[in-house]
């Protein structure tokens, strides 16, 4: 399914991404913010344009050719996502607006069945705030698993949080958007299931960088988003095991999520339509399908190997710089590096980097508690994609060193 069709050739791949050959104020763009949102290949743009020019209509509604063609394309995208995650059935794939919407759905429709929910200190706000809201709304206890100084999940602490058997769901990241830490998902599943809890993973980062097989992982829910996977924004995915989804009530009400409506009530539709109220992200689904075809043709294994080389190179370059601190030192990590510079604030550093064409994110990256955990106000974050080169990693390292000197 994920065989590479050709040797990994980053120069060739970059030709698929027109934006990467642009300049910023006269200097070549070095785009190192794929963790926030990735750039899009021509193949995705072409698929969306072709769909809009030939097949667009609303889905699941019209008894006419175009609506049927659009419905077919939309459901083909669902099937592609199911194959991408190795889900047992496309019915286990719910399309949402983004990863945040997927976690809000989960918190509303699955959360109330839990006495307690565990998240970790290194969650993106998308997998933290919905659970805080559930706690405040429904009294579901929220437990926070600690992160070690190395930036890894404290599994001893997780075990203690699970010990009383009250936890209904462990919802944690598969890869930190700040530390790059890849969490030991198989261990987490075993521990949670052993304590009678279900498991949800935030794969917003991980699904972009390595192959995910939800059946092999044994997780109950898995979330990712289209725009970080080289697809369009406006579409996210909640995978859920079918029997769990079928037991969950709807979240949003409206069209498409019902099988019957009267003025006094409604009968919800079956899964997954039950969770897809209103006109869904149709052209976005077509774009996501094209993005999945794109990365699958290159091969998730080849992408992972390329990014592993980049990550090793970045670790070597950045750790050799004086005055630069890298947050986290996990054994298993991906291409996300959040750093501080001892002479300058992250925003000042990012402004200097921008003048060198280097686009990084500065701030707290929607993970304020994690920054507090590491005692820093803000960081500069470089995050890699399949099109990132070693030369770009060097540009980042050189610009960091230059910024440190500039503000000395």
């Amino acid at each position: 399914m994920t065989h590479a069709t050709a040797p990994f050739d980053v120069a060739r791949i970059r030709e698929d991404f027109p934006i990467l050959s642009t300049t910023v104020r006269g200097v070549p763009l070095v785009f190192l913010d794929s963790g926030a949102s990735a750039q899009k290949p021509r193949q995705v743009m072409a698929a969306m344009t072709r769909f809009l020019e030939t097949s667009y209509a609303n889905v699941h509604r019209g008894a006419y050719h175009l609506s049927e063609a659009a419905t077919e394309a939309f459901e083909a995208a669902r099937a592609a996502v199911a194959r991408f995650l190795n889900a047992a059935s496309p019915r286990e794939i719910v399309f949402t607006g983004n990863a945040t919407a997927a976690f809000n759905l989960l918190a509303h429709s699955f959360g109330p069945s839990c006495k307690a929910v565990v998240v970790s200190e290194m969650e993106h706000h998308a997998n933290l705030v919905p659970w805080q809201m559930l706690r405040d709304r429904a009294g579901v206890e929220l437990r926070i698993c600690r992160v070690t100084d190395a930036g890894e999940l404290d599994l001893d602490h997780l075990a203690s949080l699970l010990a009383d058997g009250r936890v209904g769901l462990v919802s944690v990241t598969h890869m930190s958007n700040v530390l790059g830490t890849v969490t030991p998902v198989e261990r987490i599943v075993a521990m949670a299931h052993g304590a009678g809890a279900k498991v949800a993973f935030d794969g917003s980062q991980a699904a972009v960088h390595r192959r995910v097989d939800v059946q092999a992982l044994g997780c109950d829910f898995y979330v990712f988003t289209g725009h970080k996977l080289y697809g369009p924004n406006g579409i996210g995915v909640l995978y859920g095991r079918l029997e769990l989804l079928e037991a969950m009530p709807p979240f949003f009400g409206g069209g498409d999520m019902i099988s019957e409506v009267t003025l006094t009530g409604f009968v919800p539709a079956s899964v997954p339509a039950r969770f897809e109220a209103g006109t869904p992200p149709i052209m976005e689904a077509v774009g996501l399908h094209a993005a999945i075809d794109y990365v699958t043709a290159i091969g998730m294994g080849a992408i992972e190997a390329h990014e592993r080389r980049l990550t090793d190179h970045a670790m070597a370059r950045l750790s050799a710089l004086s005055g630069i601190r890298i947050l986290g030192a996990a054994q298993d990590r991906g291409g996300v590096f959040s750093v501080t510079v001892d002479t300058a604030h992250a925003h000042d550093v990012a402004t200097l980097l921008d003048r060198r064409g280097v686009a990084v994110r500065s701030g707290r990256h929607c993970a304020e508690p994690l920054h507090a955990r590491f005692g820093v106000d803000s960081t500069c974050r470089a995050s890699f994609g399949l099109y990132t080169t070693e030369a770009e990693v060097d540009a980042f390292a050189d610009a960091l060193a230059e910024a440190r000197e500039f503000f000395r």
Binding site: H345, H347, D348, T351, L352, R355, G363, R364
Partner: protein
Amino acid sequence: MLAPLDTLYQEIVRDHGRAPRNHRRIEGAAHARGDNPMCGDRVDVFVQIGAAGTISDAAFLAKGCAICIASGSLMTEAVRGLDAAAARALSAGFRAWAKSGQRPAGMPDGLAPLASVHDYPSRVKCATLPWVTLEAALDGQGRATSE
């Protein structure tokens, strides 16, 4: 050298960012706290109005980037000796300058390097946070946020 950055990070801005003037608390003075919730910058501004009705002392404490700290430093120097109305007018003028790039009449030259933050849209709030906090202190409001 980073030549293109010289408009904003001129030596005067870097100097005030590195070694801010009036970076202290004034006990008993009018005070406000300003936050930029997006980036975590925080500024406390203290303003002492003297017997003549003018600002006899102004100081600030800041946790943030060089632009924010330099802005607070230059601001506390600029408002000393002004009455409250003149300080408000200076603040409003500077904020308009930083946002639009258009220099209002009567703005001192010393604020020009800071006002070039206009060329860096994502950084304008860093520069204006101390000023909105000053206005809150003058208005007797305890808190401000950069808009």
